[in-house]
Symmetry: C2
């Protein structure tokens, strides 16, 4: 045992792919770049690589910080590093920014080679399966034939699940945290309201706002405020904010009265200041579309028959965005196929956000699971 | 027993109040009109009056239809009429449109006598307590000293609860359906997103859009779409829409793909076509502010000590907007004060919307309760 440490200063790397990527939509990306980071060392047998897949607002920056921006800490830094649950003394960990993103990987703000202008709304729809295909090409480039594990929370968990179906021979373990096998109607409904907020913002300009020198900040702010409601549990919101009034009493105005309003507005404004609205749209659509059971008559256990990886599935008791019942759907379908699957429902009052937090039970569980993976 | 019948064609009535109404905000309404409807006959003892309070999108039009608009049926027509649970052969039932509304009662679209122009955003904030005070003045006007019952669902239930605290001697029974003693942080959060959608719509013009000949339809549409998510249960959405694709497969566009998207857009557009955005804002604020426990250190049982009415409290199993736990808070606080309270949690998969629907158990329960009220 060592004291957990940071991976330290990291440098994003860039991989260019000149060969077109065929997409599930029938479209294709003519060429593209992926931004990625790595932590730890690839062993001689090339058997210790772990891919970390990000969710809606994540990126390739999973752990560590940047030398010129020490406050910019990776989004899963509490999980990845020497002595941490995903221990970089044992594993070679890769974070990659997905296609359509806004953190350096080719996306809507990139230049469309056909027009010489930003792709904007012409950027093709990308799916979880497309992301996984692009990740597999990056693995080829890095000389990784098989991942010891693919890990992800929320939408990242969907990518890990899709890895087991698209490339069953290339993944040893799939770790799915706070995830779901497909969205429900209610999940899609929340995404749809967020999309309409962006699409109906006059500054959206049909997705070509870059050329107008504006961003649909109003719509993006609303989308993020709404998202935050679904990331937190009812209880966590009650504990953290309750009915606390900023001025101790009602002041009868549309300015902030309750602290929860202040929190949501702050989160919304912050997000609208850096995130790309087209990426938000594309990502919510990727979430909506993901449904491995679709081509199997909606029967998940038929879809998962193709998987051969070992699984760890983790859910959180108060997560109502992707509730424990959604994780159990995956578990039951895997058990039906006699796959090795471990399942844990972690008691947590933090809702969906729990997968990003530093819960002792959760991290001990992950540490124990990663510890027993043979590389 | 008779076969349930409609109350038939009804005519809204109008009451003008020249005396200013002091409001909780410290402001006052200089004069105002209330639109109301009545069904049945007031008995000689004036002891059979029942007030029905409406929720966010309701109005005074509770039952029956209009002779010149036979398709315009009252919002609780399934409950009110001869032979129906709230039987107009026994009761004199009153529906009244609350202040700040957009169905004929004085509201933001009415003319501000001080300026000669529509009130718009200058319409004062109104609270549940203010609505109840205005309803009491209407009761005075109609010669009703005491209501046999005050009845409401959702925000309407909050008004019934407030009646028991503001005018305990003027109410025999309070019937609170799918209601809550105050909003949670999550409830306020949803309201806040809806408000921001309206407030940030460029067509809002600071609430004075009437003068610009536009309405903030984009914002109002978003608010209503979001509202509908909270009115339906997760299960009801899954049963009704699931992941059904309009075209049988993904078509990769921001047009409607999933049927749930079509439903929400339709509901949003319809609502934005007739409802007033300023009324929406005021009503969500009235919801946020309502908190009878506030002046009792947050202790609900202390606040409810003042009530002397008998209570019927009804909740629905899949209502996650105002869950059964919220109704039980009221029940426990009343029992603590040794009040007569009946409580029922109705099994229903329809979520919050259940209070408007024709569920047999629910309606039998209400019928039995109203039947035993002595007038």
């Amino acid at each position: 045992m060592i004291q957990p440490q940071s991976v330290g200063a990291v440098v994003p790397q860039r991989a260019h792919f000149a060969e077109p990527l065929p997409l599930r939509s029938g479209d294709a990306l003519p060429e593209y770049e992926l931004l990625y980071e790595t932590y730890g060392e690839l062993n001689a047998a090339r058997s210790n690589a772990v891919l970390v897949c990000h969710a809606l607002s994540g990126s390739h920056h999973v752990a560590g910080h940047y030398a010129d921006d020490p406050g910019n800490i990776g989004w899963w830094d509490n999980l990845v590093g020497p002595g941490k649950p995903l221990d970089t003394r044992k594993f070679f960990v890769i974070g990659v920014n997905n296609l359509g993103g806004c953190h350096g990987t080719t996306g809507p703000a990139s230049i469309n080679p056909a027009s010489g202008k930003p792709w904007g709304a012409d950027f093709p729809f990308v799916t979880v399966e497309d992301w996984v295909a692009a990740q597999a090409r990056l693995a080829d480039r890095l000389g990784i034939e098989r991942f010891a594990a693919v890990v992800g929370g929320s939408l990242g968990g969907m990518q890990a699940l899709s890895w087991t179906l698209q490339y069953p021979e290339r993944i040893g373990h799939a770790v799915l945290v706070a995830s779901a096998p497909r969205l429900t109607a209610q999940n899609i409904a929340f995404n749809e309201v967020a999309r309409q907020a962006i699409l109906s913002d006059p500054d959206f300009h049909g997705g070509h706002y870059y050329e107008h020198g504006v961003v649909p900040a109003r719509g993006l702010k609303l989308a993020r405020m709404l998202g935050h409601i679904t990331y937190l549990s009812d209880d966590a919101m009650a504990d953290k904010f309750g009915r606390t009034l900023r001025h101790g009493k009602a002041v009868y105005s549309y300015d902030v009265e309750f602290e929860i309003e202040s929190y949501l507005r702050y989160q919304g404004d912050k997000f609208a200041g850096f995130f790309d609205a087209n990426t938000y749209l594309l990502t919510t659509k990727a979430l909506d579309y993901f449904d491995p059971a679709f081509e199997h008559g909606g029967i998940l256990r038929a879809a998962l028959a193709r998987a051969s990886a070992d699984f760890l599935v983790v859910s959180f008791s108060t997560d109502w965005r992707f509730s424990p019942a959604r994780s159990r759907e995956i578990v039951y379908s895997l058990l039906h196929n006699r796959r090795n699957v471990s399942y844990a429902e972690i008691e947590s009052d933090a809702g969906h956000d729990s997968f990003l937090l530093d819960d002792a039970h959760y991290h001990e569980l992950l540490a124990a699971y990663f510890d027993r993976i043979e590389v």
